[in-house]
Structure formats: structure tokens, C-alpha cells
């Protein structure tokens, strides 16, 4: 049984996206160890290589299903911000790039989804970046979605979990994308000020302005194994300092050693770990087990 079949139909939804059919006989090559993996088994193992444990990227809906109890969650409709405020074009018009991405991901979509549900029995609002949508870049729509997720968490008195995977700011929105750094910071501060816990789950890759704002401000910082996390891109650094970068540079484990994350957690254990931590922070006293009469 596919883990996706367990997902309840969103109570509120902005988009109806067609489920992509994958033929059962498909094989995927692990980009880390080269092992050929049977698609169905890979999917059942949450897209983690059986041979080497490499965590492959997964899309936002699969991520939601991994995190929420029994894969059940309800997506919320996201605000519809101004489109292409700078009338930007490079080799192509920005509006056309957006249309292409939406043709692939669904109308009105941008690089993030927000849903609410239970994690470990605790109320949680989860915002997940869609790396496949313009490299998960953060523009006004993503910023607005994070503000909406934070406000929903406060409204529901729920924990907020943000799962970035992003190349950074959306250049096509210029300075307005840069302004999402302070805007998202305000959003997560609202959650903290309400006394609610804010979790960041860093996934591959999280870079640039996303890392340098809300993604480094969690009460608890968790990362998936092997995820690339950093500010400047490895190539930019290499070209600037003209030195070869050390093995494992900007990987999750490197960040752990350098004090930036609390823990590196396997995908299979994420729901349990986050659920336990929310419980520890939000249920300070366990109800005494009822005595039998």
C-alpha cells in the first residue's frame, strides 16, 4: 500500500494536482552509491537508498506524509500575492517561468505548501518548500505563506515546523525577495512570542537568504543526513578563496560539529523525534495513568 493513499483529502485546498503515475517496473539509480533501486521499494523506504542510506530529495506532499501522524494532514489555501512586481525578464519573462512551473506543479502554486495536523499526537502547522518549483526560491508568495503558517500556528496554539529546501532568494523579484528575510523572521518571532515552539527541519539543499533568516532561528534545529546547508554556494567559495573545500563541507554532519543544528535525524525517525520534542515542550506534566477501579 502506498503511503500516499493514506493522505486524507485536504479539507481546504487551492490546487488539485494530478497524481503522477509511476510505472511499477521503474528503477532508480542512487546518486550517491550507484546502486539500482526498485522504485516501489525505494518509495516504501521513504526515498532513502537501501544500500548506502542516502536521503534523496522528496517533494512537498511526500514530506508532509512523512511528518504527520499516519500521513494525515489538511492543506490550507495560501494568500495570492502580487505577481511579477518588477515586470522582470532575463532571457525569458518571469511570468512565463512561473507559468511553466505552475504547469508542472499546479495552478496558483509556488515553492511552498502549508498544512496542519498532528505530529506525535500534538497539533502542528507544517510549511514545506518545494525544491522542484524554481529551486525552492523564496519570493513574496513564499514569504506570505510563511507568515500565514505562523499566524495559523498562533491561532491554533500549535507548534510550527518549517522544512526549507531552497536555492535562496528569487532573483526575479529583486529587492522584494530580499525583504522576505526580515518578513519571515517576524513571522517566526510571532510564534515564539506566543510561547509556541518553532522547529526547523533542514533538508537538501538549504542555502542563501533562506538559511540566513527563518531557517536558522528554530528553537530546535534538525537536519536530514547528508543535506547541504550553507549560506554561500560551494562553487562561489571555491572560486573566491581559490582553495579546495574540505570533505563534507556544508553537509548536515558538518553543521552538527559546528554547533548549528541540534541533531541529524534519519527520515524514518523524523515524525517520532519531532513529536517527542513537541510533547516535552508543550506537555510538561504527563497525566497520571488512570488507576483501575
Amino acid at each position: 500500500m502506498s503511503w500516499l493513499t493514506n493522505v486524507v483529502l485536504p479539507k481546504i485546498r487551492a490546487v488539485v494536482s494530478a497524481k503522477r503515475e509511476v510505472p511499477d517496473n521503474l528503477w532508480t539509480k542512487c546518486p550517491a552509491c550507484g546502486q539500482m533501486l526498485f522504485h516501489r521499494e525505494l518509495e516504501a523506504n521513504l526515498n532513502v537508498c537501501h544500500a548506502c542510506g542516502h536521503h534523496m530529495r522528496i517533494d512537498a506532499k511526500k514530506r508532509m506524509a512523512v511528518l504527520f501522524d499516519k500521513g494525515e494532514y489538511a492543506r490550507i489555501e495560501l494568500p495570492k500575492p502580487v505577481v511579477d512586481p518588477l515586470k522582470f525578464r532575463d532571457s525569458k519573462r518571469y511570468v512565463d517561468r512561473l507559468k511553466e512551473a505552475q504547469a508542472q506543479h499546479g495552478p496558483n502554486r509556488d515553492a511552498i505548501l502549508v498544512a496542519h495536523g498532528k505530529i506525535g499526537g500534538n497539533d502542528a502547522v507544517v510549511a514545506v518548500f518545494e525544491f522542484g518549483f524554481m529551486a525552492g526560491s523564496m519570493g513574496i508568495a513564499v514569504g506570505e505563506a510563511i507568515v500565514a503558517a505562523a499566524r495559523l500556528a498562533v491561532l491554533q496554539s500549535a507548534a510550527l515546523v518549517i522544512v526549507p529546501s531552497s536555492g535562496g532568494a528569487r532573483m526575479q523579484e529583486g529587492i522584494l525577495s530580499l525583504m522576505q528575510m526580515p518578513r519571515t523572521t517576524i513571522a517566526v518571532e510571532e510564534v515564539k512570542e506566543a510561547g509556541l515552539p518553532y522547529f526547523v527541519l533542514l533538508t537538501d539543499p538549504t542555502t542563501g537568504g533562506v538559511t540566513a533568516s527563518f531557517a536558522m532561528l528554530g528553537d530546535i534545529q534538525i537536519s536530514e543526513p547528508g543535506a547541504v546547508i550553507g549560506f554561500a554556494g560551494a562553487r562561489v567559495i571555491e572560486e573566491t578563496i581559490r582553495e579546495k573545500l574540505p570533505e563534507g563541507f556544508q553537509r548536515a554532519e558538518y553543521l552538527l560539529d559546528h554547533g548549528m543544528v541540534d541533531m541529524v535525524v534519519r527520515r524514518h525517525d523524523l515524525g517520532e523525534t519531532i513529536g517527542r520534542l513537541i510533547g516535552l515542550l508543550r506537555k510538561p506534566v504527563l497525566e497520571a495513568p488512570k488507576k483501575r477501579a
Binding site: 536558522m216 554547533g259 541533531m263 523525534t273 520534542l277 510533547g279 515542550l281 510538561p284
Partner: protein, 317 residues
């Protein structure tokens, strides 16, 4: 095989004799059982007598005993859902200080302490329990988390002191310790600190400004190691035993001085002899200590802590 300290030699000799007798082939004409019982009673009497009047220098050795339970032994036995959190968010994860969220008898707490490690590999990983600035900055982060989510804090201290190194100085070892003291004194949630082995100087007090400070019966707490003190004031490391006596670093003296609030008894022969029992006794003492603190208001908790430390030194021994 037990790891015997020098002053435990007579006990060790008796115990090895008992072992020998036990492994003797049974002969009908000698009653080994009786003989063993007599020797056992003698050994147990000797152990009790020895540990009832340990000198300060002997306590230093007991406090440093390699088999003594360490932070992680207590963390695993006394807490559930223990989830260590890592990193100072600016430079490194310092494993000399271990801490995170856990439940203590059903209640969420922040628990942290210095961990010395138990064999070569883990000793190196935990830097022998000597923290760098990053360890104290992680502690500050955890103090702040406790305050934010209104969780009591339990600290267990066992360190020879903060790491004396060029790297630590360059990154502000003193500042980090100072901030840790400041952050812990600002808390409006209960803080219970226990010296479980060595309480070495600033590296220890950074985690030990509790509303209540406990000490295990044979642990030590001092401004400087006896060896360090001897080499500075006596100009000879050989005088460590004399310095240990002079420093008044035992739990018994510190209780009289009002520096600590409670002595937690250890099993006869020290915590290293009966680890599980020693750990369990501390668990009960922590619960008893925490209970009245949970009924205090946030403002009173901070005030009580401040007043307690301000009152120190009003009287001598």
C-alpha cells in the same frame, strides 16, 4: 576486578582472599562457608570504617574514581525521553557538556551536565569533561529554552574545570562562563544543581548556581584543584593532600559554610561500588528538592536564588 584506590588496599586484600576461598575445591574437613562469612563481615566493617572517616585527599580520589557514575549514567537511569540537543549556534558542538530535554518522573525538564567519558574513546570525545566556550554557550541556550518553556532545570556537575587552552581563551572562555552564570541566575524556573564528582572551579559554578545545590557525599567542590593550589601556594605539587585539607572542599565542610544545601549519601564504599544504588538515591533526592521549588512563583525563585548566593560568606566554619 574492582579498581582499588591506594587507601583501599586492606579492603582489597581481604576481598581477594574471600574470592580465593570461594574458588577452593570443597573439602569435607574445612568449613569454607563459615570462614568466608567471617571475612566478609570483617571486610564490610573495614569498608564502613574507612569510608566513615575519609580525609579530604581521599575524597578527592574517590570523586575522581574512574568507575564512579558519570553524567550520562544518571541521565539514562533517572530520565525518560532524554533527547540531547547540540551546538552553540556559532562555532561548535562541545561534547564536554551534554544536555537537552527529558522527563524526570513524568515532568519535562532541561537536564545538562559535564560528562567525563568512561573509556579512551568517549573520554576523548567528551574532552575529559573539560568544556570550551561553546559548551557554556550551549548551556546558556538551554537555560534560555528552559525559561521560555517554563521547564525546571537539573544540572549534574563533574568536571576538573573548564578547558585550559589557547583555542578556548581566543574564543572567550571567561566571557562564556560569565554569561552562563548570568543566564542561570536570571532564571525564573527552578534550578537544582548537583556536584556528582568533581566541582572544578569556574567551569563548575557556570552550571551550579541552583536554588538548591546538592553534593554527593564523597564529591568535591573547589576554587582550584588541590594539585594546582599546592603548586602555587606551597610551590610543590607534592603538598596536594595538605592543600586538599586546607581548601575545605568536601561536601561536609561546604554544607557548614552554607555553599551547598544538601548532602546526598553514597552507598558504603562510595558511588563507584554500587552505581545503581547511588544513582537511585540521587533520583529521590532530586525529586524531594524539586517539589517545594515547583510551588514557588517565578519572581520568588529568582529572588531566593539571588539571596542565597548573596548571603554566602556571612559566617565561616
Amino acid at each position: 576486578m574492582q579498581n582499588f584506590l591506594e587507601f583501599e588496599r586492606p579492603i582489597a586484600e581481604l576481598e581477594s582472599k574471600i574470592e580465593e576461598l570461594r574458588h577452593l575445591p570443597t573439602a569435607p574437613d574445612i568449613n569454607i562457608t563459615d570462614e568466608v562469612a567471617i571475612l566478609e563481615a570483617k571486610a564490610s566493617r573495614l569498608l564502613k570504617q574507612t569510608y566513615a572517616k575519609l580525609t579530604a585527599w581521599q575524597k578527592v580520589q574517590v570523586a575522581r574514581h574512574p568507575n564512579r557514575p558519570h553524567f550520562l549514567d544518571y541521565a539514562e537511569a533517572l530520565f525518560t525521553e532524554f533527547t540531547p540537543l547540540a551546538g552553540d549556534r556559532s562555532f561548535a558542538e562541545d561534547r564536554a557538556i551534554v544536555g537537552g530535554l527529558a522527563r524526570f518522573r513524568g515532568r519535562s525538564v532541561v537536564v545538562m551536565g559535564t560528562e567525563k567519558g568512561s573509556e579512551v574513546e568517549s573520554r576523548v570525545r567528551h574532552n575529559f569533561g573539560m568544556a570550551r566556550p561553546e559548551g557554556y554557550r550551549k548551556a546558556i541556550r538551554l537555560f534560555e529554552m528552559a525559561e521560555r518553556f517554563r521547564l525546571p532545570v537539573i544540572t549534574l556537575v563533574d568536571t576538573a574545570g573548564a578547558w585550559p587552552g589557547i583555542d578556548a581563551e581566543a574564543r572567550g572562555q571567561a566571557e562564556a562562563i560569565a554569561r552562563s552564570i548570568e543566564a542561570s541566575l536570571k532564571l525564573t524556573v527552578p534550578l537544582v544543581a548537583t556536584i556528582i564528582g568533581e566541582g572544578g572551579s569556574g567551569g563548575a559554578v557556570a552550571l551550579a548556581t541552583g536554588n538548591s545545590v546538592l553534593m554527593l557525599e564523597h564529591s568535591i567542590y573547589s576554587v582550584i584543584s588541590p594539585e594546582g593550589c599546592a603548586s602555587i601556594l606551597w610551590r610543590s605539587g607534592d603538598q596536594a593532600a595538605v592543600a586538599a585539607e586546607a581548601l575545605r572542599l568536601t561536601a561536609q565542610d561546604l554544607l557548614k559554610l552554607g555553599v551547598i544545601d544538601r548532602i546526598v549519601p553514597e552507598p558504603v564504599g562510595g558511588a563507584h561500588r554500587e552505581r545503581a544504588a547511588a544513582i537511585a538515591v540521587l533520583g529521590d533526592a532530586l525529586q524531594e528538592t524539586l517539589k517545594p521549588l515547583l510551588d514557588m512563583t517565578p519572581a520568588d525563585l529568582k529572588l531566593q536564588r539571588r539571596q542565597k548566593f548573596l548571603a554566602m560568606g556571612a559566617h565561616g566554619l
